[in-house]
Homo-oligomer: 354 residues x 5
Amino acid sequence: MSRFRKRRAAKAGLPPGTLVYTGEKVDEQAKICIMEYDENILSEKETSTVDECLVFKNKPGVTWIDVNGISHIPNLQKLGECFNLHPLVMEDILNVDQRPKTEDYDDYLFIVLKNIRYDRTSDDIAAQQVSFILGPNYVISFHENATEIFAPVRERVRTAKGRIRKGGADYLAYSLIDLIVDNYFIVLEDFGEHIEFLEDEVVKQPTPATLGIIHRCKNDMILLRKSMWPLREVVSRLERKESPLISDATSLYFKDVYDHVIVAIDTVETNRDILSGMLDIYLSSVSYKLNEIMKVLTIIATIFMPLTFMAGVYGMNFKNLPELQWEYGYFIALGGMLAVALTMLYFFRRKKWI
Amino acid sequence: MSRFRKRRAAKAGLPPGTLVYTGEKVDEQAKICIMEYDENILSEKETSTVDECLVFKNKPGVTWIDVNGISHIPNLQKLGECFNLHPLVMEDILNVDQRPKTEDYDDYLFIVLKNIRYDRTSDDIAAQQVSFILGPNYVISFHENATEIFAPVRERVRTAKGRIRKGGADYLAYSLIDLIVDNYFIVLEDFGEHIEFLEDEVVKQPTPATLGIIHRCKNDMILLRKSMWPLREVVSRLERKESPLISDATSLYFKDVYDHVIVAIDTVETNRDILSGMLDIYLSSVSYKLNEIMKVLTIIATIFMPLTFMAGVYGMNFKNLPELQWEYGYFIALGGMLAVALTMLYFFRRKKWI
Amino acid sequence: MSRFRKRRAAKAGLPPGTLVYTGEKVDEQAKICIMEYDENILSEKETSTVDECLVFKNKPGVTWIDVNGISHIPNLQKLGECFNLHPLVMEDILNVDQRPKTEDYDDYLFIVLKNIRYDRTSDDIAAQQVSFILGPNYVISFHENATEIFAPVRERVRTAKGRIRKGGADYLAYSLIDLIVDNYFIVLEDFGEHIEFLEDEVVKQPTPATLGIIHRCKNDMILLRKSMWPLREVVSRLERKESPLISDATSLYFKDVYDHVIVAIDTVETNRDILSGMLDIYLSSVSYKLNEIMKVLTIIATIFMPLTFMAGVYGMNFKNLPELQWEYGYFIALGGMLAVALTMLYFFRRKKWI
Amino acid sequence: MSRFRKRRAAKAGLPPGTLVYTGEKVDEQAKICIMEYDENILSEKETSTVDECLVFKNKPGVTWIDVNGISHIPNLQKLGECFNLHPLVMEDILNVDQRPKTEDYDDYLFIVLKNIRYDRTSDDIAAQQVSFILGPNYVISFHENATEIFAPVRERVRTAKGRIRKGGADYLAYSLIDLIVDNYFIVLEDFGEHIEFLEDEVVKQPTPATLGIIHRCKNDMILLRKSMWPLREVVSRLERKESPLISDATSLYFKDVYDHVIVAIDTVETNRDILSGMLDIYLSSVSYKLNEIMKVLTIIATIFMPLTFMAGVYGMNFKNLPELQWEYGYFIALGGMLAVALTMLYFFRRKKWI
Amino acid sequence: MSRFRKRRAAKAGLPPGTLVYTGEKVDEQAKICIMEYDENILSEKETSTVDECLVFKNKPGVTWIDVNGISHIPNLQKLGECFNLHPLVMEDILNVDQRPKTEDYDDYLFIVLKNIRYDRTSDDIAAQQVSFILGPNYVISFHENATEIFAPVRERVRTAKGRIRKGGADYLAYSLIDLIVDNYFIVLEDFGEHIEFLEDEVVKQPTPATLGIIHRCKNDMILLRKSMWPLREVVSRLERKESPLISDATSLYFKDVYDHVIVAIDTVETNRDILSGMLDIYLSSVSYKLNEIMKVLTIIATIFMPLTFMAGVYGMNFKNLPELQWEYGYFIALGGMLAVALTMLYFFRRKKWI
């Protein structure tokens, strides 16, 4: 998740409104999907140049322009001019290191979100910036690459499932944002399983590998949290009907999304607390195991050191060492050793070490 | 308590208002208990289809429809339509992963709570979602399965004990919520005993098992807290008389419930602090015990290593080793060894190790 | 201080307003002390039944009814009816597990506080619930048992010392609350001495006993804090003159009490921080001592293991072992051993271990 | 700094307004310095009785009465009566355990502050309570003993340096408070040096002494912080021009003091964070050193135990032990021992232990 | 970064408005760069005395006076008088230990910021105070030394790039502040790399050096945070259009800066959390390694102690020790030893130690 802290420095000193794409460069042209619909009709078009979108601006139905890939700047610039977008908005769309936020430019709302995905192969969370322009009868969505993250909504529009064809542009925006919030749950549930697995391991068999995973999970939670707190503000502002672009009916749906965001934040906080606790458990387990190891060592040493000493005594070569001459000296010595060993064992037993 | 983090992902991408039951599937039909009462009369009925409830809608007295088991969706849908419930409300009733909340839909209040129970056999906290619809003269309550959690209130209605038959629907809602809040205390007191027991054990005989229990208790507290903070908001909103559905007299009772919730939250926070402290104690105890173990080892080694060395010296086979020839060489050597041992013991005594 | 988390569960499911005394049962009848005074006259009476209080209700002077012992419910019920107390108030007086709070019932203020005492013998903090009813010209105080906690105020009324005989019922309430707040300081100062003593011990001679005491003190602070934060709200509300029952002049005195409460809370927070720090110190001290122990062991082992080995070599029985035949072999061997020992000692000296 | 938690208990149960001096008793009479000045004239007087101050009350210029030593109560009482001070104000001046605060009594402002000094010999922070009465044309300042803490301001008045002679009583109060705030910086900078020194020591040569100092510093910071947070409120209230006693021009200067207080609080918080970090460093350093010690022990033991065993084998007295008869048995044995030792060393080298 | 806590004490007791430069003394005269421009014309001048600036005060275009080096006080005093700056403003410009802040003096805004730079050689963060006076048509900027921190903006003015020549003085101020905020990102990204490097090292090869670096990074974050929280307030106040000196159009740009500051603060907080986590990891790693070391020691001791003891037994010189006389005694003994060793190894294998 290191991408969360890169690239912004490249823009230091440039005048504001300079359009610089700060994401990973990809060669592909933008793929632009346009949908225009109302309750009865639906027209769909896929293109790679912006020119074809421009005619849709003043159509009566709802127009959804979905821009996949934002590395081709002139294209975007043309789009921005057509829809009268502020230069700072254009800059923020391209600067993929934004904090989630919503800004009200009277004619349209500008919304920036992060869509996250859990990459099982690299065991990493990938975040992609998604921006929305919500106008009176259009939604323009921008995302970094051509992944079809909005496919379920597109499908719903096509099949006219649910309220979507009857709702306005604000309902479309809601559907897209809801989809992004739902993605947080998918990631969080993957994490939940991970954490349950770790909880077992940390008590039973703590290794530095466990430690590394806990540390990584914790950092992921820190970063998730960082992107979710502002999300809460964003949705809360949409729900509070501050803009006339959002109807009363739709604001009720945003309230629902808001509830989801709160639950997700709760889960992240809970996970953080649990992971913090797991570090303590790790340390305690390791300390406890050290005690066990030391007990073994101490028991062995405490039993064999006196015995070895006794054997050493009777290995001395003094001319006059009476015991050596005794008939049963050897057996008495062995008996003495056994007695010492048993005494020690009894002592440890009483101390509950064995 | 793992159920707190499951199942929501299953709904990602579906249009809002889609009714999906996210709890544990149970085959049983819903059991619906209907009570209709005013100060003088009381009629009670038990059914499994929704149709019979519908007639109760406009009765003058207070109607309480208690739906046990919500896995049978068409039933609920019919009920929802009859009482004009918003699709999002219906969705939230079925999605048993809600955060406690209250929503004001003018005609009725929608309240979601968690009823918790401490399962002594599995040593686990089980949470069950309970939803209420509070209308002007009716209360509809939904819970996941057929446990008779509301039995005490039902009994009070039957026997006309306390104010309940004289109060309106809001007083009935209060009685039910009060019951749920009281359940938190039962669980918390079970926990309290647990914690007192742990406090003893952690100082006297800390084992990894203790550690595991502390960890589990701490996580339980984290999760309890997560469900209690929103509970506080819920009750506070009911108490502040924001809705005309709640009378002045009843709001006073909600204030009482609010006080209880605050006390319960305080207790959870206190338990968390105490459990956190116990982890430190555990670690400190284990460290201290390590010191004790190492002292034993060091004392043994420090006494016997020099002795063994001395014995080793007189076990050497040098042709010319004068002491070996002395008449009392052996006894002098033993005396020397004793002197060394006593010196060491004196040294440890002074260091307060023994 | 375990009593902080008990007994509430016993009331689960009962209708509100059911009077159940949740404190420790004591057989004794309530002792009721009645004082009626104005600037000039003073009449005092002690009784055990409530009936005698009832006449005092509408007297012109200030009436103070002090109820010692609240386990006799019918008595209280009669009193409550006479003074028109709300059933929830009566319930809260008996339920001795309340959070400190103040409630405005227009005709009277209901105030709940905790009076704490530090029991030197059991080394424990005991909390006792004290409730006040402040009416226009009367104060009714309730406490769990017959300890004379209000003796100093009673004495002041008798001797007409200070403003008390000139002030109204609100000034009397202030005097009683002030007394309770002052008790917090007495307990806190006892704790302060305890903590200073611990601070010494934890660095010099940390034992598990110290650890246990720190843990107990910390828990006491957690519980004290829990009862003091709401106290702050209580006094703050009294000071802000929200009720006409409190005159301007008296509100100035409540401001003074408020300052005291803040100082007490500060002290509790400070003590908590210091005690938390002490746990770290304990752990660090124990770790450091372990190092010291291990140094001793390592020094001994590092010196004697090579020596023992050397002795072992010359104790071998090889037929052809030239050194054994040397005239001064023994002394050379001893010299070699001494050299090895000195080298080791020099090495440890340089490492600053000795 | 133990004085922060003493003596208040002595007042428990006394009626409010009882004047009890809670500071250290000193025999000396109060020394009272009176200055009366306007832009042109300046008269100065030193006395030990209060009577001489009384004439200054209604003079047109600014009068500054500086009371050094407040243990002589009748004196103060007379002063308080002359300037119409509320009994609670008089009580707070004498009770030197106040929290910094400001109170508006319409005719005058009552301000309580702590003046701190770092005592290099005892390595301790000493706090002294300083109280101000700011009237329309007079300032009365009280401090516990005769230290000349206000000398710089007195000098400025004498030499008419800066705005002080042109400003009113509020500007004088500002100058005095500014001086006290500046003293915090002096103490904090002394601490800063201390901390930098500790930072070096804790990594290089951690000893229990270091630990003790860290602990003490941390407690000092906790206590400093406790006295600085309310200071912030005090100055903030003065700056917000809530009282007509403070002119617009002077409020600008209080804003400056406010900035200083914020910087000082920031520094205290920073120091606390750094000191907390240092405890972790200490523990980690000690643990690391333990590892180093154990490596030495393990290396020694691992090399010499097998060798000693081998020597032991050939020291056995079996009649039939073939190797003993070999011509070069001894040298072969020595060679074998060397091989074992080198193998062990190679193993440790690979593990990067040596 | 020790400079953050120095030098302020030098001013204790001086009257406010006394001009004392508290930064590092440098001999060089101030270098003053003056730019005057509007959309069409641009005049630029470099000087070292203040007199030449004075004529620019009432010019119609935007005037930017950039003062490099503020150790020459009379110069500044003259400038301050010409532009009617308040003495406290002049004092704050010279006192380079200010907290970032903005103050509204009606005629002009006074803004104090910190410009930070990461010094790779000393691995340290250097902070330099930068102050701005924003008047209706002029900006005066002050910084401690002659580093050309504003070069990019100067270049933009020269080349008329972006909006800068069309914007007013407020837009110029925005450009300068934006530049300073961008510098925070450069430093934070350098830190980010550092931290990623440390994360690797702390798990793999923790040494006290790593510990020292973590500690230093953490302290740097504490100090960065200390200077960034007030920065947030500063920019927020500029963005909220509280002063008429900032136009609506420009306030939109300040909103953009505000977003950047928030992202920077988020990053600092995240880094702190990660670094705190790393300390725990360090401690856990060290503990784990100790376990590994002790396992080696215990295995060696547990195997060789019994063997050495057995060898010792048969090295005893008892006259009557039957085994010694056995034909294959030696080989049986060796076999016994091997059996003991293998048993031990099997035991450790089962305990998963090897």
